[in-house]
């Protein structure tokens, strides 16, 4: 039986890990591959690198990072953030990313998902969906798109997405738990794995997301503060009876 996954997410800008509040006051947290290796050693099942740089004229540092991560990491990783075109996606996959995540660009042009899936297979294509009260939002939640999240999830899978990263934009950073209604309704509607994102505060929250139908749970602030929390979380989930890689 396939294990439920715990996936730390690292925000990167200019090839470095950063931490900030609502994309402002960014603090340099170190080298992404070093931090990723640390998480890998602590039992991360997979990793997500999210490029939060607003403008992406210069993707050089990100591609360098992907190239190094491909060689040095022993676990799979997804790269997302600012993937606007098939060429962006292909560049990241060719540089060694196991998967690429598309968000707004896929919403505006779903065919991007198909074209990447044709080249690298669906298993390499993640569609990231940000939502508020069941509606798709973009631009960190500032722009409601008038599209039902479940409807878009189905459509994205039809177009070739092999996995969905579903973020509740209001729960993000609260540590109050994932949006279980959103996670559950999307997991019920599609046949591909779903990663719950936004709101993780404790092991119970991850268990709730799995219970709702998620295959994986994204975590960020709770482990960035104290990486040793990661093996503790996994142990608590395993003790709770969830199939977890230990």
């Amino acid at each position: 039986m396939v294990k439920k996954r715990v996936i730390p997410c690292l925000d990167v800008a200019g090839g470095r890990v950063v931490k900030g509040v609502r994309f402002e006051h960014l603090r340099d947290m170190g080298d992404p591959v070093e931090l990723a290796t640390r998480y890998s050693e602590l039992g991360a099942d997979e990793l997500v690198f999210l490029d939060i740089t607003a403008t992406l004229e210069d993707r050089g540092p990100l591609l360098d990072l992907v190239d190094r991560a491909a060689a040095e990491l022993l676990i799979p990783f997804t790269v997302g953030g600012g993937v606007r075109s098939v060429d962006d996606g292909l560049a990241l996959l060719r540089a060694g990313a196991d998967k690429v995540a598309l968000n707004r660009a896929a919403l505006e042009e779903p065919d991007l998902l198909s074209r990447l899936a044709d080249a690298f297979g669906s298993q390499a294509v993640v569609c990231a969906i940000d939502a508020r009260a069941g509606e798709v939002v973009t631009h960190a939640g500032r722009n409601p798109r008038g599209r039902d999240a479940v409807d878009w999830a189905r459509d994205a899978v039809e177009h070739g997405a092999g996995e969905l990263l579903v973020t509740s934009i209001d729960a993000d950073g609260t540590r109050d738990g994932y949006d279980l209604e959103l996670t559950g309704s999307i997991a019920d509607a599609v046949p591909v794995p779903v990663i719950a994102s936004g709101g993780a505060g404790c092991a119970r929250h991850l268990a709730e997301a799995y219970e709702a139908g998620a295959d994986a749970a994204l975590i960020a602030s709770i482990v960035h503060e104290r990486p040793e929390r990661l093996p503790e979380l996994k142990r608590e989930l395993a003790e709770d009876g969830w199939p977890i890689r230990t």
């Binding site: 396939v2 060689a71 060719r94 196991d98 794995p193």
Partner: protein
Amino acid sequence: MRVAVADYGAGNLRSLCAALSRAGAEPFVATEAGEVREAPLAAVAGVGHLANAAAGLALSGVDEALRDRVQYERPVLGICVGMQLLFEGSDEGGTGLGLLAGRVTRLEAVRVPHMGWNTLVVRNDSALLTGLDGADVYFAHSYAARPADTDVVTAEVEHGGPVVAAVEEGAVAGVQFHPERSGPVGARLLANALAWSRSV
């Protein structure tokens, strides 16, 4: 040991080469039939559609080189789509190398792709899988091999029924999972593969 990692122009071979280096091998990306034919071990990796991979291998003549190897009992290791290529063909389209009897069909499970860590159940004695029974390895695939002869199946995992995770027959071996992405367990598989290829 030099390991020819066959390149058919799709996908990134950096992580596999790095993992093979860590296991003590000297991997090199091979684009020509001659270098694939001669190396002590040849590996075929890949992602995506079998048809693309098969077409890429045929273009460079590497497909014939791999068949020649097996005829002379020189080891070939297929990884992920590279393992699927060892069979006759895929329901997704495309003709395989035909080194093993059977076809590749779409997975039937609640969640496809089969994505994540799953537990190996070793079915047949295999030097390749020494120490790996019950270990978790990483999968990411929507299609899976269905060998005509189940004796070639050395390991399975459970995902909507048994899924073939590893095969072996003489000088031909394959794994459906990604050893280069399966942590220390994957590293063990690659080290085993190097030892196996010396003994074939």
